[in-house]
């Protein structure tokens, strides 16, 4: 990428926005975040808003997204609306600690008194005040703003976010449910920065639901940095269900130490342009990472799952399965890269992307990559794009199942395959149900989500 491409109109507009709001942003954010802002701007200007000529954004045109005037609300005040009354999670039997985040800000009325000892959940601002050493252990340690322009943007604009810490050998049985809400009466860009730290031998499950409360267009730039220490285990389930004007740029950057175990799930239901950057660095022996994704898209939706797995140490295992069901004029993208570094012997890495195209105008672009610099590995990947097997369909029909129903059964089976790995049962059942309703066309963007806002 050369500098002349980087300084496009979209880049200049975001630079101007930053310079205009800088004072307010800094006033309402902790010093720790402020220190890195100007450096983030510099690296953003070098990279620019990526056009389709930038390899990593070849299939997702962010210039289109940012080639308009976006606004940023730099103070917390507008997030202080009373959402609790209009908002309730309706997943049956799902017993979680619920944490609300509004427009990138920690919701002050979150009640977390029931959290067991050794588990800390608070706003990032508060964490900087009270647990600075813990935050410092993770924040910007394994994430490089110069590597990705969306990350640089987060560095420029993010003022708050969530901090989660699980102390040594503490096992959090009840999942944490983080609900990211977008709300407001005007279009805006919201940035959020989260830090998650799991100490040795700890365990946690986190369900993240992205949701919009109003019908405005939002850019949600959500960056999460995670450190999973020795023998720790973390599950992250992300259900993305926002209105179709919304652009969701989500980054999940996980550093794993030895014998750690990570499971991630990305469930995409609604949203305009969705880009999920997932980076996992297996930086300790015997670490294990499983990544799953299911995207169901229609209309003009654009879903891009971008994963990078570094096998930095020997004896690690990674497994990725991403599935897409594309209909309408939707466009799906999967880019996965398995990077086995030298001396990462006995690596086992697997990557799979299967996509169904249901309409003539749907599109799928997939790029599963292997970069392997060690010989003692077992790595494989597979990618398929196609449609429902007519023979299997015939089999079902010959047993008296109507064509439409048979088709749905097969699509559902295709999608369910990924969900069967989800380790929170009520959530899995709920997503199963949502998927089915979604596939049957019985949903509206409003009721097909894990959280019903009743608005």
């Amino acid at each position: 990428m050369s500098d002349k491409n980087a300084l496009n109109n979209a880049t200049l507009a975001l630079q101007a926005l930053y310079l205009e709001k800088k004072g307010a942003i800094i006033d309402n954010a902790p010093d720790f975040l402020n220190e890195k802002r100007d450096a983030a701007l510099d690296s953003f200007l070098v990279q620019g808003v990526p056009s389709k000529k930038v390899e990593n954004y070849k299939y997702t045109n962010l210039v289109e997204v940012f080639d308009r005037q976006w606004d940023v609300v730099a103070s917390k005040d507008d997030a202080n609306i009373d959402v609790e009354e209009v908002f309730q999670c309706d997943v049956p039997d799902l017993d979680t600690f619920t944490i609300l985040m509004v427009n990138g800000w920690y919701y002050p009325k979150n009640d977390l008194t029931a959290l067991p000892e050794g588990v800390t959940v608070c706003s990032l601002q508060e964490a900087f005040a009270h647990h600075k050493d813990l935050v410092e252990e993770v924040y910007c340690r394994y994430t490089d703003h110069t590597k990705d322009p969306v990350l640089s943007l987060n560095g420029m604009f993010a003022q708050d976010g969530l901090f989660v810490h699980v102390a040594k050998n503490v096992i959090l049985e009840r999942p944490l449910q983080i609900i990211n809400l977008m709300n407001g009466d005007s279009d805006r860009m919201c940035s959020q920065r989260n830090v998650v730290l799991l100490e040795q031998g700890s365990q946690a499950k986190i369900a993240v639901c992205d949701h919009t409360l109003s019908n405005q267009a939002f850019v949600f730039n959500n960056m999460t940095e995670v450190l999973v220490k020795e023998n720790a285990s973390l599950d992250v389930y992300n259900v993305q269900n926002q209105n179709n004007q919304t652009i969701n740029l989500s980054g999940l950057n996980i550093e794993q130490q030895s014998n750690s175990n990570v499971l991630t799930h990305a469930v995409v239901l609604h949203g305009g342009v969705i880009r999920n950057n997932l980076t996992i660095n297996l930086n300790g022996e015997n670490a294990n990472a499983s990544m799953y994704g299911i995207s169901v898209a229609d209309q003009e939706q654009h879903v891009d799952n971008f994963t990078t797995i570094y096998h930095s140490k020997p004896h690690c295992v990674s497994n990725q399965v991403y599935k897409n069901v594309m209909s309408g004029n939707s466009e799906g993208v999967f880019t996965g890269c398995i990077h086995v570094l030298p001396y990462a012997e006995k690596t086992a890495a697997f990557q799979q992307n299967n996509s169904l195209l249901l309409t003539e105008t749907a599109q799928m672009n997939t790029k599963p990559q292997l970069i392997i610099d060690n010989d003692d590995v077992k790595c494989s990947h597979g990618a398929t794009v196609g449609q429902i097997d007519e023979e299997a369909l015939f089999y079902l029909r010959s047993r008296g199942i109507g064509e439409h129903e048979a088709r749905l059964m097969m699509i559902f089976a295709f999608a369910h395959d990924v969900l069967s790995n989800l380790r929170i049962e009520p959530l899995r059942d709920r997503i199963d149900q949502l998927l089915e309703r979604r596939l049957r066309g019985e949903d509206s963007p409003c009721d097909s989500c894990a959280i019903e806002c009743n608005s």
Binding site: L357, M364, L370, G382, A383, T384
Partner: protein, 481 residues
């Protein structure tokens, strides 16, 4: 590990067998590249005006371009002003029989194990031998001309069939295509031209042996194959180059036009000098190969065995325009020592019911890096198109790399596209199994590698299959324990 090191040493110490310089007088022009050099090349070749215009257009376009950086390759800076762009054996007399050919030249081919005489008498392969860019000898021309087949050097074709050249030049690979295609279009010296008329099945396999000979001359080949309706041709290209310390640049273009119902099979064995065991010297092989399946039911097959060159950058591609067209790409790429390869294919499906198959086998040893890069693109109107890709990598030695960069773009819901890739090394259990049955580790590896590549080698014409198998053995035998 001790055993492995010893065996690795043995292999790395193996000298390049084909490293010798033929003592043939060559005519060269001075180093450097500018418009005058292009005019000089064009006038030396007595080209018509349209050719000069084409070259100049390409050169002006090239000047505006930057060297591409996207490949997974580490390419040292190339000084394009430090290259001689034209080298031709002095005086190129027309020979009627092999006896008149310079005995030195014939000896060169003998050393390569591909004597012209034998080829002519025993195998019936017509050979268009290209030594340093100018075609010296074309055999079997008469037999072919009876059928109306044109098989001659590119410069001859420019003189004798300017209408055909003008019609097809740059149709598959326009000069604007990429950096090296533009460079080639500006300075190409010679190459082969092959035209199969309507309904003709070429009775023999056409073959060109390229060889870079004079020191410091980049070789800029250009091959154009046109297969008219319902015709068939199998074309062989093989390359060996003498040992040199300075890197030599080779930027070739191959264009293939396949009309309705025609079939073209293009096979390559590339064995250029890969540089010594320290990565010094070797050929830079930057090739643009592309075929267009223009008519309905046309068929194009690319088969390649790549064992040579310090850097290989090559993506033989197919554009499937016609309905019911078929394309295949079968490749074995082997890298050793410090060799680098970034190779693969593009299959662009435009016509309905088009089918393509990709089989790529990469073998990396030593400190080499071997990448597969491919694109399968299904356009909106390519209903019922089908692709299957398989890319396997075999790693021998813990310092080499094997990479896979497949791109799949599908915009039609009736298309079925599948891609799969695996990376592995030779299993210790496999070797143990062979050892147990009295087969030495070296032989076992040879067997396993040959078995691994067999799927592709089997697709090669007989003569090539033998050479290819031998090349794999030479390059790999015993490289891991």
């Amino acid at each position: 590990m001790g055993d492995q090191d010893k065996l690795l040493n043995e292999v790395t110490q193996r000298e390049y067998q084909y490293g010798f310089v033929s003592d043939i007088e060559t005519e060269t022009i001075s180093k450097g590249l500018n418009e005058d050099v292009i005019r000089l090349i064009s006038s030396k070749k007595k080209e018509p005006k349209f050719m000069l215009d084409y070259r100049l257009k390409a050169y002006r376009y090239w000047q505006k371009m930057d060297m591409p950086k996207w490949a997974h390759l580490n390419i040292p800076e190339i000084d394009f002003q430090d290259i001689i762009y034209y080298a031709a054996p002095k005086s190129t007399p027309k020979y009627e029989s092999l006896d008149e050919v310079d005995p030195e030249l014939l000896a060169t081919f003998d050393k390569l194990g591909i004597p012209l005489q034998e080829q002519k008498q025993l195998t019936g392969v017509a050979v268009d031998a290209v030594i340093d860019s100018v075609s010296v000898k074309t055999t079997f021309k008469e037999t072919l001309s009876e059928k109306g087949i044109i098989f001659c050097s590119f410069s001859e074709a420019v003189q004798e069939h300017p209408d055909l050249i003008q019609k097809y030049l740059g149709k598959a690979v326009p000069y604007t295509d990429n950096y090296f295609a533009a460079l080639n279009s500006a300075v190409f010296s010679d190459g082969s031209f092959c035209y199969i008329p309507k309904g003709v099945r070429c009775p023999m396999e056409l073959s060109t042996y390229f060889r870079i000979n004079a020191s410091n001359t980049g070789q800029f080949e250009r091959t154009l194959i046109v297969a008219e309706d319902d015709s068939y041709v199998s074309y062989l290209e093989g390359c060996t180059a003498p040992q040199r310390d300075e890197n030599q640049l080779h930027a070739a273009i191959v264009e293939i036009i396949v009309e309705k119902g025609a079939e073209v099979k293009y096979s390559t064995v590339q064995n250029w000098y890969p540089g010594d065991k320290n990565g010094v010297g070797g050929i830079y092989n930057f090739v643009t190969k592309r075929g267009i399946c223009k008519g309905d039911r046309s068929k194009l097959l690319w088969n390649q065995v790549e064992t040579g060159s310090a850097i290989t950058w090559k993506y033989p591609s197919c554009i499937l325009i016609g309905d019911d067209t078929v394309a295949e790409f079968n490749s074995v790429a082997l890298t050793n020592n410090y060799q680098q390869a970034d190779t693969g294919t593009k299959m662009i499906h435009i016509g309905k019911n088009s089918k393509s198959t990709i089989v790529s086998k990469g073998i990396s040893a030593g400190k080499s890096s071997n990448a597969y890069r491919g694109l399968v693109k299904v356009g909106k109107n390519a209903s019922n198109s089908r692709n299957f890709s398989q890319c396997d990598s075999l790693l021998l030695g813990n310092q080499c790399g094997a990479h896979t960069f497949p791109y799949v773009e599908v915009a039609n819901n009736t298309a079925i596209v599948e891609h799969e890739a695996t990376t592995s090394k030779i299993g210790e259990d496999q070797i143990f199994y062979c050892n147990q049955r009295g087969i030495s580790t070296e032989d076992a590896i040879g067997m396993i590698v040959n078995g691994y590549a067999k799927e592709v080698i089997n697709k090669l014409p007989m003569e090539f299959a033998v050479e290819a198998q031998r090349l794999l053995e030479i390059s790999l035998e015993g490289s891991v324990g």
